[in-house]
Symmetry: C2
Amino acid sequence: MALQGKKLINNPDDVVTEFIEGLVETYPGLQYLDGFPEIKVVLRADAVGGAYDKVAVISGGGSGHEPAHAGFVGPGMLTAAVSGDVFASPPVDSILAAIRAVTGTMGCLLIIKNYTGDRLNFGLAAEQAKSEGYKIEMVIVGDDCALPPPRGIAGRRGLAGTILVHKVAGAAADAGLSLADVAAEAKHASEAVGTMGVALSVCTLPGQVTSDRLGPEQIELGLGIHGEPGAAVVELQTVDVVVEHVLKQILSQETQYLPITRGSNAVLLINGLGATPVMELMIAARKAVPELQLEYGIAVDRVYTGTFMTSLDMAGLSITIMRSDENILQRLDAPTKAPAWPVGSEGNRPPAKFPVPVPPSPSMKDDEILSERQELSKQGCMLEAAIEAAAKELIDLKDNLNDWDSKVGDGDCGTTMYRGATAILEDMKTRYHMNDAAGTVNEIGSTIRKVMGGTSGILG
Amino acid sequence: MALQGKKLINNPDDVVTEFIEGLVETYPGLQYLDGFPEIKVVLRADAVGGAYDKVAVISGGGSGHEPAHAGFVGPGMLTAAVSGDVFASPPVDSILAAIRAVTGTMGCLLIIKNYTGDRLNFGLAAEQAKSEGYKIEMVIVGDDCALPPPRGIAGRRGLAGTILVHKVAGAAADAGLSLADVAAEAKHASEAVGTMGVALSVCTLPGQVTSDRLGPEQIELGLGIHGEPGAAVVELQTVDVVVEHVLKQILSQETQYLPITRGSNAVLLINGLGATPVMELMIAARKAVPELQLEYGIAVDRVYTGTFMTSLDMAGLSITIMRSDENILQRLDAPTKAPAWPVGSEGNRPPAKFPVPVPPSPSMKDDEILSERQELSKQGCMLEAAIEAAAKELIDLKDNLNDWDSKVGDGDCGTTMYRGATAILEDMKTRYHMNDAAGTVNEIGSTIRKVMGGTSGILG
């Protein structure tokens, strides 16, 4: 079944330029260089014209990783981003155009992910720019922890950890540091970061057919961000098991990829790969934080959960850990206007929970538990039997009700009824005055209001 | 093939509480009420305890719409969000708990989407809270533009436009306005907003099987956010055609849902439904802005593109238009720390494009066009024929190369080669000095650097 991937696009050849046009429509602080289709460069509208008085920080690479890198352009982060075509390194001329557009007397730092194409194209552009009189430094990020060393001449791939390096470098540049100091901070950050990904689906390139490489119950571990096959294919697990496995790989004592030991501090980045709902990313974050703290003895200073570096429409996520210190935290917490950098992750955490407020009125007794059950009257026994039979019938009907509801609604009617019936069976023995039929009906209403929600709950 | 939807979750019954735990791990400004599993309330850590001195703004509803609504809790937006189970309205007691936790003497505005369950549960909670002495107002949002009126007793559904109403109300409350004034601004906003969605896939509830309702080449127009079937199923179109259709429906003169005419100002919200890559959302934004301005004579003041109100893992998007005026713009631009509200959309737009900088050195002549073609020598003719044959061969091999590359890499080798070969055929006639073989090789290199990118470009 060779079907083209279903996408909301126009001509597959135009996805990158059209993405940039939409991005710039959305964020008035961004502009792009008027050199489509070859030159695809997004830059800070306030940093162009050669008069920029801080170190310019430029990143880029192949497209298909949106919002990276163009979404991280803004005061306090990247000065410009250079996009290639989907999964293809940008040509030298467009990198040069970006350097020329935003680099002032303080010079320019290029941050790139460790791929052969990017190293060559950015490297050649850097040499050319130097010959034109620009001060240029380059930092290469290779944060992949999926495969054991040695990885041969290519080395470790650059993944979502690059975003944290952008932030550290961008904040250092914004603070007015010299090119050498900004480059040193970026290099330090790049050596303290590790990433590994897990995919539920393979990504589909625009205009191409969807691969059936991954079975309906399989997931891929340790993938790249260009649809390269992962290090391993395994059966679908709960996210808790997946997170445990990924953290173990990243923090492996065998590979020693990360300079993190018990007692270290770190920040955590949970990154969606393109088609992953926020709900699932947050569920992963919920597992990763206590796992790091309790199993590895690592204090988690910050958590960044969202969609940062994608593989087109891939479902799945990557986890990144960066060892943090006071300086790195200051850089990560520094304000930025870059649209795709998360808001609200900075600062220390108060207790997560707050007690449910006590109702002001003393008449509320929904939670009252009968101190002693009276003996049931004959009528009470009949009522109990009737309620029990009805509740059990609803429990048995759960799947059928869900199925029928999915034809006309959202398919959760059976689950909602099941929840109510189960709670009634529970409360019946401890909370209901069964000898008083009218009172019992009210008490059933109270149980339902408490647990069922939905429309049925309130009608109940 | 009744397969469970592939999700990174644990127990399907725990997705909402685990989402909230992860959310609160990520954002230190948020807390949740300690009443799991029944009470699922996220609140501002700095607004609890009954001493909050501004109008509290509370929203909520069924879960499965993440980041809505809990992701919009923060200074300047929501004070608390009440979550039900997936696609089920929250029970009265949890709404009451939220009201009690954050409402001070200024009172509380409840903003809800127009669904029967939410109207009943929030309505009953409001009455109960009033009986406890709280000042409460309620505003209901029904922004759906997919179906023509009359919609019967249920009325129009609440969709992503609700997020803009949150922002207006939250900013008005933050400015210190009274409950009556905050409610009036929210109501005004709710009457100025319209939304319509388009889906590429049906969403799958946690633990349930994936529906095969939508064929591999079909999309659904005018859907709800609970997996309800859309108003129409059509063949997959380009996103430009889809956007045109959706805007036409929202702005229909027949339904007159929106008080917007030629000469009006408006803001635009492009909302991903859960599994939609940022790239596709931006491509839709790129079409919608000029369409509104040129076809409908509507000035677009702001564009918000991102993932705001989802349907679990649904692929697709919704478009929301809200008529804007000076006051609404001021509310939308007001600062907020709510994590899911977009950064960087405020302010007026400069020109989108910036000219490509001219290289400083006069020796660069990549773009030189030969003023007059010299007559080709015999050797020049042979070289031309050879280049032409090689380029055409590469063009013919595009699909095969992509296919082979997808086995070992990212499947774009053929496309990259095609791009280079096409450009060489073009430049050959106008830019190459074919009688000078060595010069021609350099000129080919220049063409390749300009258009190919990737690793092959730089190696070429």
